[in-house]
Amino acid sequence: MCSAIRSTALVRQYGEVTAVDGVDLDVASGEIYGFLGPNGAGKSTMVRMLCTLLGPTSGSATVAGFDVVEDPASVRLRIGVALQEAALDPRQTGSELLRLQGLLYGLTRSDANRRVGELAELIDIGDALDRRISTYSGGMRRRLDLAAALVHNPQILFLDEPTTGLDPVSRAAVWEEVRRLNVDLGMTIFLTTQYLEEADVLADRVGIIDAGHLVAEGTPADLKKSIGTDVIVARLDRDASTVCSAIEQVPGVLSVEARGTELIVATSDGSATVSPVAVALSACDVTVRDLTLRTTSLDDVFLELTGNRLEQDDSQGVGS
């Protein structure tokens, strides 16, 4: 399958700060690619470069087969973009904004009007489309922003943290829409997110970015498998690093990591390993306050690769 997005050693510096540092990407046509990382990791800078809004300091990138620096106009015709903050003009009505968007993509006035009607149905915004955007709720603005990105039927859709700040219902609606655009229309989707569940649920492949570096890439399942299929988390009454060496000796344990009083044990078979781990902890003469067995999450992958956890909000739990 051909590449929809490809970057080679892409770098962007802001003065002394390197926001994106030599990122190589290859996103296949028709793929949903999740770009996962904490705030300030370089996700939005990467999107702005791929969307031709920002020139790279060095390196190169092609989108839909066109170089983002050499032929940005061809790139723009083929991409739709919903940036992190809904980029809307509050003084226009929703329909005026969509119609104007259509006209700028060369649609005739009648085609633009037809498209406004179709998108109104798509984003389920009802009569509000004829109201000023300043009266819209956050969820309505997001949906209108997505519709604006879809006016010209792009081949590739960039969504920069599309669900940040949305309530769970609106978030689920966006996920459903993203899946549908991908499945029904074969649209390639490049999605940045700081939400683990979002990347896990939506993305065919995930790239993990930290401090401007792409630190891992693969399917969510492969990434999780790379650190074991299950995780045992023990909260102790003391510094967990004192028991690491003892737990590493337990059969079935793949890796052990201490974070303060929390001990994170990766294993290929959690149910078989949890009892021996408990026994080993008891033998170390520590009090176990809490012992949890769960499947690995992308957060565990992120922790393994970067030494930090990604922030999660309450509604984004990965299950235990």
Partner: protein, 272 residues
């Protein structure tokens, strides 16, 4: 939220995105800017109020004094061009452009195939339209208080056109500041540029009455020649020398402001 897949496929199959072209882009952006004007009347009402206020107050207070000092002097006609420049100088969609930058809509425009220049020119087309709309009621008030055009209806047209072109030339400063700073406060402060342009010149008395440093400054101030060109349409008839000087003055200011404005646009696009 979902619609039938087959329908969706048929719908999008009919969409063929392409670059609309420079003139279509400019017309689309201008259309948006013009639609916004009735929604931003607060940007239009104060200039016309200020212009009419000073026009009426000045002719009320200074007519007798000036006309008594200078034989054959028509202070009301003399003041009409000053009122026009008070009304249209600094009136532009630059504050709206700052809002676009701030709320991200400028980025949305840049993500489309729109010609970058068309974004600015579209706003400026709207500015010229607004300037004409501001000049016409001031001219009507001028007629009501007895001003007449020696050059007839064509002169009125030339008068409106010169005023609107000046407004456009000066608006470049506002757009340059808007694009350079993205700061509405800075754009509003561009109004300060207006003072030396409009008051260090022959706004209230003929140039022959100026002396010393003010005369020197007025000689170098392009607005002096613009005012003289506009006044010639009112009181002298078709004085081509004065009109050519007015056009040159507008062109010089326009060349400076537009160079700054387009450089600021390039800078903002480059900064992303």
């Amino acid at each position: 939220m979902t619609i039938a897949t087959a329908t969706l496929r048929n719908q999008v199959a009919a969409v063929e995105p392409r670059a609309a072209g420079f003139f279509a882009d400019t017309a689309t952006i201008a259309g948006r800017a013009l639609r916004a004007i009735p929604r931003d009347v607060e940007t239009v009402i104060p200039p016309i109020f200020i212009a009419l206020f000073f026009f009426l107050v000045n002719i009320g207070t200074l007519s007798d004094l000036t006309e008594g000092q200078i034989e054959g002097f028509d202070f009301t006609a003399f003041q009409l061009p000053t009122a026009i420049l008070l009304g249209v100088t600094g009136v532009s969609r630059a504050p709206a452009l700052v809002l676009d930058v701030q709320n991200g809509y400028f980025d949305r425009l840049l993500l489309t195939p729109v010609r970058r220049l068309a974004i600015l020119l579209g706003h400026m087309v709207a500015d010229v339209t607004v300037a004409c709309a501001l000049i016409i009621p001031i001219v009507i008030v001028g007629f009501i208080v007895g001003v007449r055009f020696e050059t007839g209806p064509l002169g009125i047209l030339a008068f409106i056109l010169l005023g609107a072109m000046w407004s456009l030339a000066f608006s470049g400063f506002g757009y340059a500041i808007a694009l350079k700073t993205g700061n509405p406060g800075a754009v509003n402060s561009s109004f300060l540029l207006f003072f030396p342009f409009l008051f260090l010149t022959s706004s209230y008395v003929p140039r022959e009455q100026l002396s010393g440093w003010l005369d020197t400054v007025a000689t170098w101030n392009p607005v002096t020649y613009l005012l003289e060109g506009l006044r010639s349409l009112l009181v002298d008839g078709w004085e081509w020398g004065d009109l050519v000087k007015a056009v040159i003055a507008i062109s010089i200011v326009g060349a400076v402001s537009m160079s700054m404005c387009f450089a600021a646009l390039r800078g903002r696009i480059r900064r992303g």
